[in-house]
Symmetry: C2
Subunit: 610 residues, 2 copies
């Protein structure tokens, strides 16, 4: 039941998005194109406001982050270095029977959603079915349940058979369990793989399918001209790291941020704009020194790995504190645009869930109508990315840190020794795990450790990085879902009606204020209203509306998420002389109205929408 209610909520949201011009299907007049979406007039403004605010908080309001705006198509070696060419793929199987392609790790959810499975589920709401009988029945027909799934091949026969059995003889399985049993347990027991969810046919072994969109630059479609649409904006930042260091007068720790489109050829785009093939990212790569350097700067290793809320950045922060700091900053950002803490969850990935290069990753999750899903990942990626680009490009990614060099000089010898041993031990362990013979591992660990600390002594290192990476489109969906409210209100005539109101934070609302003359056919009201509109227009986005009853005009702006409404009435014109040159200011959320002087409008509204 909860599921159905959430689906209904999602449908209402999708419908409002289309009806009010937040989001349209791309190329809809041509039947659409799967996984691509357009932002209509209100959606485009909402998205701009969110991106602008992210950019402002990152760059203008900080000293330690600068921006970048890199190309979507980059040199293909970038994706070899980053690992995307090798490993950025989903496992795919082909059905030997119907030739359809399915994502191997998503077969079960599709089975669950198939028409025959849903028919069974509807037949036995809370009811039970004896699977053993079902399996025997299939055998009696000369069929096995899997992989040539009788249920799939003859859904009508099967359903009527189950239906009869249920009425006669209630048995120990619930419908969902039955399905699960049929589709997984049964197959696992007999060593068979899942069937094709479309026709029940046999599937091939899963093979990796790369998610990058491929194209060619220049007139010839040859291997040497292959290029990819970037699957993330982050790599451009690593690739330009040295150029930015050389030009931006920034010192580690500092960050480079970027907003831009990225593309992933998802096999099954889903959940509206949540998982699409073309999307936008807001990413920050925040570069920090390795902990050994921080220890030298702090004069000690203690304190480098702190606990609790980190507060303002300090020179003695190790990567763990920086990581926590950025998680906290990102949560604060979401709060500041209208996602309350209670709607967000922090999920700390477990060691076996981490990507091989990640030291720690926190997923910031949001309660979407279709489930709790990731809004942003904040990953501590060590120096994996810069090192990879150094390796593949041959360009050094060393950063020279004069302050670190001086600190290192003065650093306690015994503590240096301690760090050196610790580093060498870890390197040794890792090499052994990679399968190196013990003696060889020891020699190599010795050499790498020695090279590393020789460089540190000169103030040279490859910075480590903390990466808060947010998806703009899923954030849009979160903001829309959070803002969407249906309230029962009583209209002017005393009738109850449902008010649909989008409670966007004023900071991101597409339109900031609606301006309404009380009546359209009174030129003096209209003239004054236009005057107020022109007064506000240089400072914020204004919508002027003189059509229909004032209550209807308010409702229209409620649906658009406009936080304020200004109405010009006869009192404004001086009918009540005490109220001359005042207007009513209506609050979208409380629907309360107050009387405000026209002269006070600009500063008052600016303070609320910035």
């Amino acid at each position: 039941m909860a599921q159905a209610k959430e689906n209904e909520r999602m449908e209402k949201i999708v419908s409002l998005c289309k009806r009010r011009g937040f989001i349209f299907q791309s190329s809809e007049i041509y039947g659409g194109i799967n996984g691509f979406w357009d932002y209509g007039p209100l959606g485009a403004e909402l998205k701009r406001n969110v991106k602008d605010y992210w950019w402002r908080t990152m760059t203008q309001q900080r000293e330690d982050v600068v921006g970048l705006d890199a190309s979507i198509i980059m040199h293909p070696m970038v994706w070899k270095a980053s690992g995307h060419l090798e490993t950025f793929s989903d496992p795919m199987s082909t059905c030997r029977q119907c030739k359809k392609l399915v994502r191997s790790d998503q077969i079960w959810p599709i089975v669950i959603e198939s028409s025959w499975a849903r028919a069974i589920a509807e037949l036995v709401p809370g009811g039970t079915v004896n699977t053993g009988q079902l399996v025997n029945w299939a055998k009696g027909k000369g069929q096995r349940i899997a992989p040539n799934l009788a249920l799939v091949r003859n859904p009508e026969v099967t359903i009527s058979w189950i239906s009869e059995r249920i009425q006669k003889n209630p048995a120990p399985f619930e419908a969902k369990e039955l399905l699960q049993y049929v589709a997984t347990e049964q197959f696992n027991q007999t060593g068979l793989v899942l069937p094709c969810p479309h026709c029940g046919g046999e599937l091939t072994e899963p093979r990796p399918f790369n998610l990058m969109f491929k194209t060619h630059t220049g007139p010839v479609e040859s291997e040497e001209n292959v290029a990819y649409l970037r699957p993330e904006t982050a790599q451009a930042i690593f690739v330009q790291f040295k150029s930015v260091v050389a030009t931006a007068r920034q010192k580690v720790p500092f960050g480079i941020c970027q907003i831009g489109k990225a593309f992933r050829n998802e096999i099954t785009p889903r959940n509206f704009i949540f998982r699409s093939r073309e999307f936008e990212q807001m990413e920050l790569e925040f570069f920090i020194p390795p902990d050994e350097i921080v220890a030298a700067l702090a004069g000690d290793l203690a304190g480098v790995r702190g606990e609790g809320h980190p507060g303002e950045p300090q020179p003695n922060w190790g990567w763990q504190i920086w990581h926590k700091y950025w998680v906290e900053e990102r949560l604060r950002f979401y709060e500041s645009i209208g996602l309350p803490r209670t709607s967000l969850k922090e999920y700390w990935q477990k060691p076996d869930e981490l990507a091989h290069y990640a030291k720690a990753t926190v997923d910031i999750l949001f309660d979407f109508p279709f489930g709790t899903e990731e809004l942003e990942g904040v990953a501590a990626r060590g120096n994996f990315d810069l090192s990879q680009h150094e390796k593949f490009s041959g360009e050094s990614m060393d950063y020279f840190d004069e302050v670190a060099r001086e600190a290192w000089k003065k650093f306690d010898e015994s503590k240096k020794q301690e760090l050196r041993e610790d580093y060498r031990e870890k390197k040794y362990d890792s090499l052994v795990r990679k399968g190196l013979e013990l003696g060889e591992a020891k020699a190599q660990a010795e050499k790498e450790s020695s090279d590393y600390f020789d460089k540190l002594a000169k103030g040279l290192y490859t910075p480590h990085v903390i990466e808060p990476s947010a998806g703009v489109d899923r954030l849009m969906l979160a903001l829309i879902a959070q803002a969407f409210n249906e309230e029962e209100v009583t209209d002017e005539k005393g009738n109850k009606e449902t008010r649909v109101v989008m409670k966007f934070h004023p900071r991101i609302a597409p339109i900031k204020v609606g301006v309404f003359p009380l009546l359209k056919n009174r030129p003096e009201l209209v003239a004054k209203a236009l005057e107020v509109k022109r007064l506000l227009q240089p400072h914020m986005s204004v919508f002027y509306d003189d059509t229909g009853a004032i209550g209807r005009r308010y409702r229209r702006q409620d649906e658009a998420g406009t936080p304020f409404g200004v109405t010009i009435d006869f009192d404004t014109l001086g009918e009540n002389s005490a109220l001359k040159d005042t207007v009513t200011l209506r609050d979208r959320d409380t629907m309360k109205q107050e009387r405000v002087k026209i002269d006070d409008l600009v500063p008052l509204l600016i303070s609320k929408v910035r």
Copy 2:
């Protein structure tokens, strides 16, 4: 000489862009990728400011334009309807000898730039060569000049031969003329095509090469999954026209604008960011009623096609006035961000230059260092695009205009008749030109005219469109070129030096104000400077700098194009009590300094940078 000077200027600009982090080559550490560029920290801010201001002037500051943010990958039928699949191509030839591809319409410029041609040009500065002798000489060697160009095959021999001849016997051709003669006249006379500019080999007949980047959606690279990266943002606006009409509460005349990336697989990207393969566009499609409807609204046809500056929009404007209006608006926009009128040219395309669907097109040109080139095109496109999408999608693009219907009802019958006849005549002419037999053309013109006016009477029509279409990247280059200044100034010690200053309009400057404590080692100056920085930071982009002599810090901000510098000195702290809590405000362009109260800084600077 002028050419060399302009090249030098261009080189200085490219160098500054790299040195100060305006523009980097994409993927530079991998050797770059031809036709792709990244905007560094200063460039990214400059570009954002330009785009934001364009968007604000289009949407927030007008009532009749709304925004759209559509996907880059659209349904491939979009490009069939728009004509891009058929005709968006360049003619290409392949060399039968070296197998290289060349753009057939660009062979001559490449010949001119070839090493052998340049060698000849250098040998005979202002000198002369007898081409007849050269041709005879080639024949004597058993070679023809073309297409197996002796000059190319044996450049050293040829050059030394020419060199000897020149010394002995000055003859009637100048070097450039010689080249031209050899490379074109000669071939035309003998009926031969131009040779391969790389090796002199024979070229194949030119064939069209489509400029759209191709990719595939979904896991299978089949014909049915082909998709293209949009070559322009405009088509998305046409495709979503009806969705926007249905949701945005706008009535024709109104516009839809969009900013976004577009891609063209240029064979020879050139002139820095001027012609690249990935670029950004700012486009407006402004929809207007057809002139017949405007005539009804105005009660007459007179005045629909006005002369001179159009002023504020009026309901009786025909397409020609709207077209002029938008040209003027766009010129005003460029002026408002720092491109003076004198740097811009209007070029009205001649009838034979117009695209077949265009009624008129004005190119707004800018004097780039490499020549006068297009910054923006303002085209009157009739209803070509909407009609094409109606034809290919089967979805009606009719717009219902209640006001027009009422006006049409009351419109003078004899004038309606006049318009009808005019329409039918033009249709007839056009059908005859297309090759229709006269009787058939007459019948069809009759029918089309009748359908058209039947619809008009119901207030239904397919709107016409005026399209101002600007390239963001070429605008960036124009702004950078216009801002770039080298001035001779005298430093504090009386030495002359060259000041490089980027005179960006404050509105678009990447950094608005530099904040400098006079001395870094005086904590009270630093504290006060940081206080001023924090005061300004919520309102604009601030750069704090305490390193080096104050003059050097000014110079650094001059190069970054920062319009204002605020210096905190001992007077600020109250050493001269009359000047307590004042700072010096330096103007980048005049280098003049004035004393300003800290309390006045925010409103003063806001008024200058907005």
